[in-house]
């Protein structure tokens, strides 16, 4: 059982929900930058949420399936087709051996996105390292040989829990998660004050939360670099000692241009942390196109919890829907 990379696009890698438990060794969690998308795609093909899939960047890729199987995409579909037949995000479809999934070069979503997650029934079966199949591109391990996928790569697929009739079942879909942002509007991310927030001038806080920022093309899986007005610290602010950072941390280097850390970020940093994006909104950052506008909204801890609970409710609804149609898989709502 395998899939064949005809064309990987800009950056394709094997990712699961991340490599946890090793941050005290300097090992970043990595994993799918949008774990919600990967989880939904996995459920649609009868996998556990934690099965490994492919994270694709900016479309323009081709993947051939070498066995009869079932697939689902989530995130930006880039006008995806399977042998010419359109495939919408959050749809589960059967594919035959020899069929090819193609993603175009331009986003086609109502709100254009940047990345796509592909789940295949049985999951991408590369050997887990330190408890995860995710590719750590920086450290060069995990996934397929610790690297981004190339043309001609062949990836093994694990054993699916779908039986023959389930695998062949006609296409169905679930509701995609709602970003809550209208088409054409900036991506909004909710954030809590960071540990060094008070080192910044009042004006910097106003700017951080008032201005629309732009995601620069220098952004990657380590972090989204934002361009906008300079965020200044108070005079006499001392340099901080190295301290832990998590995905979502908004750190401000001396340039005053903030960076929002993502899954592949280093585990510790030395730049002041003005804010931290709440966990429930990280997926929106993973999907926001380079060059697109972004707005930060300061919230309190209760709102962060409510937002996380809303995310969990969405996953639970997906699980309920799938359970009602006797679809196999992990349906615990987590």
């Amino acid at each position: 059982m395998s899939v064949f990379i005809v064309k990987p696009g800009l950056l394709a890698s094997v990712q699961d929900l991340g490599r946890y438990g090793h941050r005290q060794l300097g090992i970043c969690p990595g994993g799918a930058l949008d774990t919600l998308a990967l989880a939904v795609a996995n459920r649609l093909v009868g996998n556990d949420d934690s099965a490994a899939g492919l994270e694709l960047t900016l479309g323009a890729c081709e993947i051939r399936f070498e066995n009869d199987t079932r697939i689902a995409l989530a995130g930006e579909a880039f006008g995806a087709t399977v042998d010419g037949a359109p495939l919408a995000p959050c749809w589960s479809v059967p594919v035959h051996a020899g069929q090819t999934l193609r993603l175009g070069g331009a986003p086609t979503g109502v709100r254009p996105g940047l990345r796509t997650w592909l789940a295949v029934a049985g999951g991408i079966d590369v050997p887990p390292i330190l408890g995860s199949r995710s590719t750590d591109l920086k450290a060069g391990f995990g996934g397929l040989e610790g690297r981004a996928l190339r043309k001609g790569d062949r990836l093994p697929i694990g054993t699916s829990r779908l039986d023959e009739s389930q695998r062949k079942r006609k296409s169905f879909g679930v509701r995609a998660p709602d970003a809550g942002d209208a088409p054409g509007e900036p991506t909004t991310l909710r954030a809590l004050p960071g540990p060094e927030a008070e080192q910044f001038l009042q004006a910097a806080h106003k700017l951080l939360y008032a201005e629309p920022w732009r995601i620069t093309p220098q952004s990657n899986r380590m972090g989204s670099r934002l361009a906008g007005p300079e965020l200044k610290r108070r005079k006499g602010s001392t340099d901080m000692l190295s301290a832990g950072v998590v995905p979502g941390t908004v750190q401000v280097p001396p340039s005053g241009q903030p960076i929002i850390l993502m899954g592949d970020a280093q585990t510790t940093g030395g730049y002041p942390r003005i804010a931290v994006v709440i966990r429930a909104d990280l997926w929106k950052l993973a999907q926001a196109p380079l060059g697109s506008p972004l707005r930060l909204v300061e919230v309190d801890e209760q709102s962060a919890h409510d937002a996380w609970n809303a995310r969990q409710r969405y996953l639970a609804q997906v699980a309920q829907g799938l359970a009602l149609m006797n679809w196999p898989g992990e349906h615990d709502g987590n």
């Binding site: 946890y20 438990g21 090793h22 941050r23 005290q24 060794l25 300097g26 090992i27 390292i129 330190l130 750590d136 920086k138 450290a139 060069g140 391990f141 995990g142 809590l192 960071g194 540990p195 001392t238 000692l241 190295s242 301290a243 832990g244 950072v245 998590v246 979502g248 941390t249 280093q266 585990t267 510790t268 940093g269 942390r273 931290v276 994006v277 709440i278 966990r279 801890e301 962060a304 919890h305 996380w308």
Partner: protein
């Protein structure tokens, strides 16, 4: 020192920073190790993110509320004994200078010493691993002789070769992987700092006492 309580501050909705005031000392770091050893056992605490003089606890808010976690840190803090970790003695062979240490000359000039004297002092000191972070297996160590402190390069290198030994400000360290970096490179070791397939993936661990052994000096 040990009477000082850490400042507690959330780092997002699922992590808590526990931070002692500067300056970083080995005593403070020992308390950080002790706190980590306790907190790792608490239900709902997922991961430890140690730093210099600080520790961040990632937690699952569905299992433990932040306020409850803060209470636990405050309650245990006065009772922590700053016991030393059972660190090991680790010798790191280094080829100093030349291609392996292109900045040795610059460091010597900055410090007003000969390159050989920089090597002598760098390899004579004993260093203690405070914590691992930044990159897999990257050890933040204390113990660089003050006279060897050298500011980082104004233009960071795009790709520092793996296993390079460098000085950055008042710190010395070894790059486990090829990575961008601004430290002054004075040498290189043959030891692998990180092997994800190994049972213990990192060569160095917090509490280890490290010595650099000069196997050659090109100056």
């Amino acid at each position: 020192m040990s009477a000082t309580e850490p400042r507690l501050h959330p780092l997002g909705d699922a992590a808590l920073l526990c931070e002692l005031p500067a300056p970083a000392t080995l005593d403070a770091q020992r308390k950080i190790w002790a706190l980590g050893a306790q907190a790792a056992k608490w239900p709902g605490v997922l991961e430890l993110l140690p730093g210099m003089n600080n520790l961040t606890l990632s937690f699952d808010p569905a299992q433990i509320e932040r306020a409850a976690l803060e209470d636990k840190v405050r309650a245990i803090w006065p009772r922590l004994s700053a016991g030393a970790l059972a660190g090991r003695e680790i010798e790191i062979p280094v080829t100093y200078g030349g291609e392996d240490g292109p900045d040795l000359e610059h460091v010597a000039k900055h410090c007003g010493l000969t390159p050989h004297e920089v090597v002598r002092r760098h390899s004579q000191a004993q260093y203690v691993v405070y914590f691992l972070g930044f990159l897999p297996g990257f050890a933040f160590m204390g113990g660089l002789p003050a006279e060897l402190a050298t500011p980082r390069r104004s233009e960071p290198r795009v790709a520092v070769p793996a296993r390079s030994v460098g000085i950055g400000g008042e710190q010395t360290g070894i790059y486990p992987l090829v990575s961008p970096g601004g430290w002054q490179l004075i040498g290189r070791t043959t030891l692998e700092l990180f092997d994800p397939q190994a049972e213990s993936p990192t060569l160095l661990r917090p509490g280890d006492r490290v010595r650099f052994v000069a196997t050659s000096v090109v100056a």
